[in-house]
């Protein structure tokens, strides 16, 4: 395959083939490029392989425990990952709902309602916010939001009907919780989602919008019947990218989820997630526990790879849709 690609270097290949000598394309330069590619390929194979290899003892001896076991007894085991898997799903899905609901409205407002001059400033601001390191969101959640939630919001939530089934026992709560982690994650992935969905919405062809306006459609009808359907697939792609960021988030969740390895359906009780559990437990881990944490890493890797697969497929479909338009 590598031999093939030497002569396949696009323009060089073509030109050289036309002149009928393939030897000139194999200069030192191409070998340098290929060497870099081999290093890159080796790094990525090593990336997957090395984590897999270190998790092997766990997959050989306790494959079921890592996925379905519910307790984490350090340092002897058993090491069950169910609490982390459930926690990851709970926090990232709630965060996604928050981010998509608010983010979609925000992107539409930025593209259609904000004056042109402000639009670029707001767009730049959103992209800068998307670049704010997650630890800063975590710090804010931990030192500002958690005490405020504990003092003001939690008592109010606990006064709801069915609060105990939804939020859990108030005496167990002390600030950090799954709901808080989900909210901070939602705030964190909001700029990411808006940055992408704004671009997707902004490239909807102006002709389509003007055509439907000229037929007497109201603003909302244009958005609902023209803009959203045209950019639908790109918006799904943005959703998946935001979801990928939420599921992989480590330190922010480690600070604010509470770090309790228990399968938790009460949202105001402390919980944990896969990535944050790896971060908090790794420091004191030995032997089998390291292997179990690597196995959790493999699960996270599978989750992230499948999310990126789906989002890439969606983005390529969006390109086709726009090409047709």
């Amino acid at each position: 395959m590598i031999e093939e690609s030497v002569s396949d270097l696009a323009i060089h290949g073509q030109v050289v083939e036309e002149f009928g000598s393939s030897t000139t394309s194999r200069t030192w330069y191409h070998y340098v490029l290929l060497a870099a590619c081999v290093v890159f390929a080796a790094v990525s194979v090593g990336f997957v392989g090395s984590i897999l290899q270190k998790s092997l003892p766990t997959w050989l001896h306790h494959p079921a425990t890592v996925i379905t076991g519910s307790g984490w007894q350090s340092p002897t085991g058993p090491f069950g990952g169910l609490a982390m898997i459930v926690g990851t799903l709970e926090t990232s899905l709630i965060a996604l709902v928050i981010a998509v609901l608010i983010g979609l409205g925000t992107s539409i407002s930025i593209v259609f309602f904000i004056p042109r001059r402000l639009r670029n400033i707001v767009a730049t601001l959103v992209e800068l916010l998307a670049a704010v390191p997650s630890i800063v969101y975590g710090l804010w959640g931990y030192l500002v939001l958690a005490p405020w939630m504990y003092k003001s919001v939690d008592p109010w939530l606990n006064s709801w009907p069915f609060a105990r089934t939804l939020f859990g026992d108030p005496s167990q709560q002390y600030g950090p919780s799954l709901l808080l982690a989900a909210i901070v994650l939602g705030v964190m992935i909001l700029p990411t989602f808006v940055a992408i969905s704004r671009e997707v919405i902004a490239v909807v062809p102006q002709d389509l919008i003007e055509a439907s306006l000229s037929l007497g459609a109201t603003r909302w009808q244009v958005i609902r019947k023209v803009v959203l359907p045209t950019s639908r697939i790109g918006l799904f792609g943005a959703t998946f990218l935001a979801l990928a960021r939420a599921t992989g988030e480590t330190v922010a969740v480690a600070l604010i989820a509470g770090g309790v390895a228990k399968v938790q359906f009460h949202l105001l009780d402390p919980g944990t997630s896969i990535a944050s559990w790896i971060a908090t437990e790794f420091g004191e881990a030995q032997g089998n526990e390291i292997s179990a944490l690597m196995a959790l890493g493999v699960l996270l890797m599978l989750l992230s790879f499948s999310l990126s697969l789906v989002s890439r497929w969606l983005v390529s479909r969006q390109r086709k849709v726009l090409a047709k338009v």
Partner: protein, 310 residues
């Protein structure tokens, strides 16, 4: 209406029918407008709701962080507060130096390889290049804690290097690589084909064209991508958390344990000393300032380039 032969219908019926139609359409239009108003104001509300936490975050960051950025913050190593001196937190010079060292080493490792791979992806149509592109796209979305696990298992366990700056830079380099690869590919693809053809027509060898014509034209895009990769890496806690050891001394040595700004934020946020928790805001503000300056530089650079090429 139902029978076209009734052309001689009385004018009054036509009149009333016309009014009826007008009335119905008016009502429908009013309804559509109302729905439109409600939904658009919901969108505006979403914008307002989105702005509140983000503005609050930035405001609190500046308000609490700015007073912490004193001279000692930049020049002293951390100290542990005691009951006698509860405010003796020292500075975070070790973390600032550590962050810079980690990212410089990582950039030195990642940029050359990333740029070369990106050039290859842009100029090759082989299956190997296609596979590398998919790998880069997948790696770009991988959770950063996995880079930390990789560095731990490869550098620490397999190569037997201790907790060190180089292990952290390795993790950060793996994080930067796909970003640099993908942005370089786009930058090279954006170079107009006419430039390449002109070079080839003048008899330049393909590698001369690539080195002397394509790469200089794509340079701005490549630099922008590399800066963005660094600005992403500098804020990452998870990859370095497991492997750099959190050293308390100022050290540029690759083999010494170092600290990093995000790491010291993570550790000190949980401190029981209010003075240390307050100091963390200074570190966070400095980190955000780093990231903003880097990404704004990249943006301005990119837009200037656009103006030149237009």
């Amino acid at each position: 209406m139902n029978d076209l032969t009734q052309l001689d219908e009385p004018i009054e019926i036509g009149q009333s029918m016309r009014e009826e139609i007008r009335r119905v359409s008016h009502a429908a239009r009013a309804r559509r407008l109302l729905i439109s108003r409600i939904m658009t104001s919901l969108c505006a509300l979403a914008l307002a709701i989105a702005a509140v936490p983000l503005v609050l975050l930035l405001w609190q960051l500046i308000q609490r962080g700015a007073p912490q950025l004193t001279g000692a913050f930049f020049t002293k190593v951390p100290a542990t507060p005691t009951l006698i001196a509860p405010n003796a937190t020292g500075g975070l010079s070790n973390a600032i130096i550590g962050s810079i060292a980690l990212n410089v080493y990582a950039a030195v490792m990642a940029i050359p390889i990333g740029v070369l791979v990106g050039v290859f992806l842009a100029e090759s149509t082989s299956k190997f290049a296609g596979a590398l592109r998919i790998i880069a796209q997948t790696m770009a979305g991988a959770p950063s804690i996995l880079m930390g696990l990789f560095a731990f298992s490869f550098v620490l366990q397999d190569l037997h290097v201790g907790f060190s700056a180089i292990a952290g830079s390795f993790a950060l380099a793996v994080l930067m690589l796909p970003v640099i690869v993908l942005s370089t590919e786009i930058a090279v693809l954006n170079v107009p084909n006419t430039l390449r053809e002109a070079g080839l027509a003048l008899g330049a060898k393909p590698h001369k064209v690539s080195l002397r014509i394509v790469l200089p034209s794509a340079l701005t895009g490549i630099v922008t991508g590399s800066i963005l990769a660094i600005s992403r890496a500098i804020g990452e806690t998870a990859p370095v958390l497991l492997v750099i050891g959190g050293g308390y001394l100022n050290s540029w040595q690759p083999l010494n344990p170092v600290s990093a700004l995000p790491l010291s934020i993570y550790e000190n946020a949980k401190s029981e000393w209010p003075s240390q928790r307050a100091q963390v805001w200074g570190a966070a503000l400095l980190l955000v300032a780093f990231v903003f300056v880097l990404s704004l530089t990249a943006r301005i650079w990119a837009s200037r380039k656009q103006r030149v090429s237009n």
